[in-house]
Amino acid sequence: MKATLEKKPQTINREQMNVVIVGHVDHGKSTVIGRLLVDTGSLPLGKLEEVKARCERNARPFEYAFLLDALKDEQAQGITIDTARSFFKSQKRDYIIIDAPGHIEFLKNMITGAARAEAALLVIDAHEGIKENSKRHGYMLSFLGIKNVAVLINKMDLVSYREEIFQQIKKDYLQFLKDVGIEPSQVIPISAREGDNLVRLSSNMPWYKGIPVLSALDAFRKAAAAWEQPFRMPVQDVYKFTEESDDRRIVAGRVETGTISAGEEVVFLPSGKKSRIASIESFHTAPQKDIFAGQSTGVTLETQIYIRPGEVLCRLKEKSPHVSTKFKANIFWMGRQPLVKNKTYKLKITTQHVPAILSKIVGVMNASELSSLQKPHVDRHEVAECILETMKPVAFDAVGDIAQTGRFVIVDHYEIAGGGIILAPVFDEQSLLTQQIKKRDYEWERSGITPDKRAQKYDHKSALIVITGQIDTGKQRIAKALEEELFNLGKFTYFLGVSNRLTVVSGQSKDKTLEKFEHLQQLGELAHILTDAGLILITSITDIDDYEMSMLKHLNHPNKTLVVNVGENRFGAGQVDLELVENEDSQIAVAKIVDLLIKSVVLDPEYFI
């Protein structure tokens, strides 16, 4: 293996850059790329001849755009539907050129293409001038955070290469770009069809003293990787592969920003759990002591703490991300259904997946007019400033501080329907859940029989007993044995089994993140009613985290909740009332739980004996 690693320097270290071409429909984006491919000799041998021959067979004039429009619908309609990637090289670096469609109907494809890019060429037709999507795309580049932009004023041949037309468009468009915060590196007059000013300067426009498009591309600077920023590694997964006696528990993810070394103290957010990095793990590399922005990697920890995918690994003594359930954001909506208030969506932010609702629309903006208006919902292709609220805390940064951890998407009915950038956290005294519980309790018509009266009559107080732990640890067996024992002792008890498969969606009709949350909420509400009625309610749940357990307790409040953990205890301190070993014998388990009930004064020993 050593010999292999020493071979590494053989790879020629060339830089690669993704560049997107955007602009209004028919302004010649595909032609620019097609021409660049031909003039730089980047096409596979015979490709140009093949496309020309196909045009001839179909009695159509050849266009450079046909080199890009690969789909049959695109060839038939003469428009680009989806982003295509073309590969070409300059002296300086390798490029992946992403051709984005200019038609409003395919805006989500344009976004997909542009979101992958580090730089953009914005194409405007000199003959038609600035159109709606010239502006919208300019705005979207700013939204997506693309800083490297050059503007190409195309089809100069159609306006007889007149400088004053170029200058007028340049002036107007630069003003617009300034308003959205973009400063292009170049504005270049070109004719893609004729090849003017693409690879070299053209004699057709002697008045243009700048550089051609290819040089403008080479002049783009790659953003420095974000090593200098605070360390952020969103956890993708926690692996424990047991084959061939591999006993590592590896926290895997990609470092978004910063750098960290083995031995450093870390904190996981939003849970706040702390540990120290024991080792950096990798396969088939030289041993590593540190990791840095851009790497997909893995670490082991010095202490056994249980964390979940979605947490953000941060350095302990460093500026930490915000942890909140509420934030202000700009959202770009792509969904067929409008974005509405009081509907539960799934939010994906870094590797966190949480249910969220839109709680306020500050203003909706037309991205091509830059005008703001008040609306009760956000329609497709609109951008809105909103307040979003999540059902459990999330860790994030404001996009202005750390872009990588300040962005999210919204999933509606299986589809990514919106993208957003976080402007700032909103700190509220009351979470959404607290407000909901307050409202519930306020509107609750209380029974005339008080909990004390009930307890006297029943010979016991009420409680919710949650038996939890990992899958296949004997939770349900213990829960049922407990129910039987309490019943035989003459207690009013009930085993509620609905929640056993919380994570496996029975109807399969909904999102699993939303489904799990909804189940827990329902369980909490049901528990609240049944414990209010004086029952000792027993339930077993697989794999829930501290926050979800707190939520359950909260919903059952003011009635008592007792937590029994079977097997590995993954909860934080103070969350669990009784710990049982995995697959504990039913009789012993029941005896221990009954003992807990006596200690917790649910069962009064006087009655019990």
């Binding site: 989806d82 590969f87 692996y239 590896i250 851009g294 790497q295 990514i416």
Partner: protein, 297 residues
């Protein structure tokens, strides 16, 4: 600290990220292994992503017309790396001799029957799956007939037209059909990982890699590939692997990985498309779109 990442490092990090997303989101996940260089790199990347392990089955569709050395290489590596290897086949078409080599079908129809149909039905569990038993060394009927909902594929955007328009996570409907006109958005490394019952997703971790990147990476990592890619002394080698009746070797004297890298970087193949030795592409108007819409890899 050396914090420089070169192009291959970036490509590797992105592919690993995608593989881990797939593994996290899809409980019924599978990787297609065609035995070729791309999917073998993909297999290697899985070992990178999962720290030496490959935590999902690999599916190979055996048309029975594969070059024999491919099958031999497949089984050797599967045993050496203890892979969970599954093989599917269109037995009926082969028994009834409804194939191109038997003269019953044209190339496209044969591809559809032996590859696309076999793949669809192996993925859905409708047709038998044969799993490698590492104790006996034989392929045995697999009792698991659950449909796979996440399918990892080694397609690259630079291969041909329709692949240049793919997403990293690309939905397929109940019939494995691809709606190219209406693909999901992908931004900031957030992919479509939610899907309606009955549908599945194709996952493409190698989309941004070029043929040259693949060979550079094979060289850098010393990944084992079948020797069919190398000139064995007769001045010919395979540049792309498939079924022998439809895949032709190219003239080349590249006898190891390094020679191939040089040949692609500066030599005779610099500007010649990789799949130029694949006959079925030409019959599909050069884009493979028809085949791929219907579920071809």
């Amino acid at each position: 600290m050396n914090k420089a990442m070169d192009q291959l490092d970036y490509l590797e990090a992105q592919s690993v990220f995608i593989l881990r997303e797939a593994y996290r989101e899809f409980k019924s996940l599978v990787m297609l292994w065609s035995i070729g260089k791309d999917s073998t790199v993909l297999l290697w990347l899985a070992k990178k992503a999962f720290f030496g392990h490959v935590p999902f089955p690999l599916v190979h569709i055996d048309t029975s017309f594969k070059i024999p050395e491919m099958i031999q290489y497949r089984d050797e590596l599967a045993k050496k790396w203890k892979l969970n290897m599954i093989v599917g086949q269109n037995k009926k078409a082969l028994e009834e001799k409804r194939t191109f080599p038997a003269g019953a079908l044209d190339r496209i129809a044969c591809c559809k029957a032996l590859k696309t149909d076999a793949l669809k039905n192996t993925l859905s569990g409708a047709w038998p799956r044969y799993r490698l038993n590492h104790t006996t060394g034989n392929y045995e009927l697999d009792s698991n007939t659950e449909p796979y909902t996440g399918v990892i594929v080694g397609a690259r955007a630079d291969e041909e037209g329709s692949r240049s328009k793919e997403r990293y996570f690309s939905p397929r409907d109940r019939n494995s059909d691809w709606d190219v006109g209406d693909q999901p958005p992908e931004l900031w490394n957030q992919f479509k990982t939610d899907f309606a019952p009955g549908t599945h997703l194709r996952i493409h971790p190698l989309l941004d890699w070029t043929e040259l990147n693949i060979w550079e990476y094979i060289e850098r990592e010393n990944i084992p590939v079948t020797r069919l890619y190398f000139d064995q002394g007769n001045g010919k080698r395979y540049r792309s692997l498939g079924c022998y009746p439809c895949t032709f070797p190219v003239d080349s004297t590249a006898k190891d990985v390094h020679d191939i890298v040089e040949e692609l970087r500066a030599g005779k193949f610099k500007n010649i498309a990789e799949r130029s030795g694949r006959a079925q592409d030409k019959e599909d108007g050069g884009g493979l779109e028809t085949l791929r819409r219907e579920g071809y890899m």
